[in-house]
């Protein structure tokens, strides 16, 4: 299955994280919030100004900026 960055994941489709290229404090925080390789998430909405994106992960909604989402790579989950 082809890897996509989070901004390319179709809305409401579930993706599984396979690579995160974020570094520094934000990387640690996102890991602790559950943004880990193997976790499932979906992009629920893109805000009207195209940034940030609303992500659903572990039953919580998170707003992440586009440049952050571009560094999170996922594989589209197929049923």
């Amino acid at each position: 299955m082809k890897g996509l960055c989070l901004t390319e994941l179709p809305l409401n489709k579930v993706g599984v994280i396979d690579k995160i290229l974020i570094e520094g404090r934000l990387a640690v925080k996102l890991e602790e919030l559950g943004f880990l390789v193997g976790s499932s998430l979906s992009v629920k909405l893109i805000t009207p100004l195209n940034d940030p994106l609303i992500i659903l992960l572990n039953d919580s909604f998170w707003a992440l900026r586009r440049e952050t989402c571009e560094k999170i790579f996922v594989t589209l989950e197929t049923i």
């Binding site: 934000l26 559950g34 390789v37 805000t47 009207p48 940034d51 909604f61 998170w62 707003a63 900026r65």
Partner: protein, 617 residues
């Protein structure tokens, strides 16, 4: 004294638990960052139990300043017991912090809040599973309804729970090859991840924690959270490209239209009539008792007129506070922050900067305190510098009065002050960030969007009452003292003899001395300048001063042209805030930066008022 710390994710109900046991009315809200400082209170059931309400955190590794508050508290104070509050409808996120706390605090109580939102029997299954796996007491509660709170009370007074020594339990969450970390001499409440320099090792530990949590939650039924479905549906409207900003501006317009225009029109005449009745009634009564005319003047024209003129705006303030509390409680305020993030990003800030500015519309002091939720120190400093430009609720009566006096037919005058204030704040944010415009973005941005829900009426009521109490307290202290001082300054001349008229008073002399400075702005008369000076105590005392000087504050319309009146409003809007806000700013920024800010504000106010006067004249 047993110290009990309340710890949990943001927005899981810690403050509601705190308020329940201490009978206090600390602010609660449906967004991250409502509690920005630790608050302490003694439990009503046992005065030897001290409860400490801490800001919400996601883990023991601090990212924001409020998370540092929690960590510093835990390391320095080492509480006897930790109550770990979890939102039962979102256990996975909350249990991550639990795994860290379990490692360091042997005496931990897990409190599952919002259990009333689960199906019947759901809570007991979760309690049984967590008790079995986590080896800590687990209690299902509804803090809002007060369900099962007695169980927490019982545990906090149970010597069998409080006295036995306990051991740390961290190794259970560690993968086999990380066990040597347990031998490190780290201090209490430092998370293990902090000592793992290798990012891969750190990730493994985090993943191990989540895998442990998945194991704990696996046997429990996966009920699709109803709140998620509702939130998703509503968010499709709140973030829709065609409806998002119309709703955003409509909400802001409704707040200020209802509080300034509608409530003002409904209550102003009535409250003014009551004030006049009190004033004349008190004067007649005191004269009938043969009280000295000076004392009668002080009471009726000084205290009752001064304090009363501010109190007449109580209904408007109450509506403003209620609407801001509802906005916060339902979760829409957090959405406003996300919606505007792209705009704030252009000026080097994040959408989180909107919250201190919005809260500042209620009162600048909590607006200043709420900047602690901002992760980036540079961003925090910029927001601190610009928050005083946003008009607080104390300025609302001033704008309502002056707007109504100078432009009785125009409902947009008072809202225009909010627009000017916010635009000035954005302008200075851009200027302050100009050289390091990408600095605030360095650490990235993430923000949790809480589930949308109807805020409990009781909670709104208690919070509005608390905020109104604060307003009344200010009126009873600052405004009272300012009224007495202003009455003295307006009734005595510079040789401290009774002034023949207000024109010969100390206040008039002081006002006349400074008036030429303000002549180019269209309000170079001593009455307006004296009122400005009084505004230093608190912006609402401007009305008090006008009431003392002119008898009827609305008579200012006879002294100035509409252009001068508008310039007067602009100057009040942008000049330095009251003493309380300055003192909060000094604590956060330090004296040097505060002096810089005060000079900047005065110059900005002068320049903007000059432009306003020139334009409207």
């Amino acid at each position: 004294m047993t110290s009990v710390a309340l710890i949990g994710n943001p927005n899981c109900g810690k403050t509601t638990v705190f308020n329940y046991f201490t009978r206090s009315n600390q602010e609660v809200g449906n967004r991250a960052g409502v509690t920005v400082e630790k608050k302490e209170g003694l439990c009503t059931f046992d005065k030897s139990v001290k409860l400490i309400d801490l800001p919400g955190i996601y883990s023991l590794n601090p990212f924001s300043l409020e998370e540092s508050v929690v960590k510093n508290y835990l390391i320095q104070e080492s509480p006897d017991v930790i109550i770990n509050v979890l939102d039962v409808t979102n256990l996975k996120k909350g249990l991550f912090l639990t795994t860290q706390l379990l490692e360091f605090c042997p005496r931990l109580i897990l409190v599952l809040n919002m259990c009333d939102e689960l199906e019947e029997g759901g809570a007991s299954r979760i309690v049984a599973r967590l008790t079995e796996t986590l080896d800590a007491p687990v209690i299902d509660i509804s803090a809002v309804k007060g369900t099962n709170m007695d169980k927490i009370e019982k545990l906090l007074t149970d010597n069998d729970f409080l006295t036995p020594p306990c051991e740390r339990r961290y190794v259970r969450f560690l993968p086999e090859d990380e066990r040597e970390i347990s031998k490190l001499p780290f201090s209490r409440f430092e998370s293990i991840e902090r000592y793992v320099k290798n990012p891969e090792g750190r990730k493994r530990i985090t993943a191990q924690r989540y895998s442990y949590i998945d194991g704990v939650l696996a046997p429990l039924p996966d009920n699709k959270n109803k709140k998620i479905l509702l939130t998703e549906k509503l968010d499709r409207i709140f973030f829709n490209r065609f409806t998002a900003f119309p709703i955003f501006f409509l909400v802001l317009f409704i707040i200020f239209y209802l509080s300034v225009q509608v409530t003002g029109r409904l209550f102003r005449q009535g409250t003014e009539a009551v004030l006049l009745l009190c004033k004349t009634g008190a004067a007649e009564f005191l004269f009938s008792k043969d009280v000295s005319p000076i004392l009668v003047g002080l009471i009726s024209d000084g205290i009752i007129a001064g304090v009363g003129s501010v109190l007449t705006f109580l209904p408007q303030i109450a509506i403003l506070f209620t609407l801001i509390t509802v906005l916060e409680g339902c979760g829409y305020m957090a959405r406003m922050a996300v919606l505007t993030d792209r705009i704030f990003k252009n000026i080097g800030l994040s959408g989180k900067a909107l919250l201190p500015l919005l809260i500042g519309c209620g009162c600048t002091v909590p607006g200043i305190l709420s900047t602690n939720a901002l992760e980036n120190p540079k961003e925090k400093e910029v927001v601190l510098m610009v928050t005083p430009f946003v008009p607080c609720s104390a300025k609302l009566p001033v704008f309502a009065l002056l707007g109504g006096s100078f432009f009785p037919e125009n409902p947009f005058i008072a809202p225009s002050m909010y627009i000017i204030g916010i635009l000035t704040a954005l302008f200075y944010s851009f200027i302050f960030n100009f050289q390091e415009s990408r600095r605030a973005e360095k650490d990235g941005f993430f923000y949790e969007l809480p589930y949308i829900r109807l805020p409990p009426l009781k909670s709104i009521f208690t919070q509005v009452i608390k905020k109104l109490q604060g307003f009344l307290l200010r009126t009873g202290t600052t405004v009272f003292l300012a009224s007495v001082l202003l009455w003295f300054l307006s009734n005595f001349d510079i040789s401290f003899h009774s002034a023949r008229s207000i024109d010969t008073s100390i206040l008039a002399s002081l006002g006349r001395f400074l008036a030429p400075v303000f002549a180019p702005l269209g309000f170079g008369n001593y009455q307006s300048v004296s009122a400005l000076l009084a505004g230093f105590f608190g912006k609402e005392t401007i009305i008090t001063a006008l009431a003392v000087i002119l008898k009827n504050p609305a008579d200012i319309a006879g002294l100035l042209t509409p252009g001068g009146g508008y310039a007067f409003m602009v100057f009040i809007l942008l000049s330095s805030p009251c003493i309380a806000a300055l003192s909060a700013l000094r604590r956060e920024l330090g004296t040097k930066k505060l002096i810089f800010l005060m000079i900047l504000q005065q110059l900005t106010a002068y320049f903007a008022a000059f432009i306003a006067f020139l334009t409207l004249s």
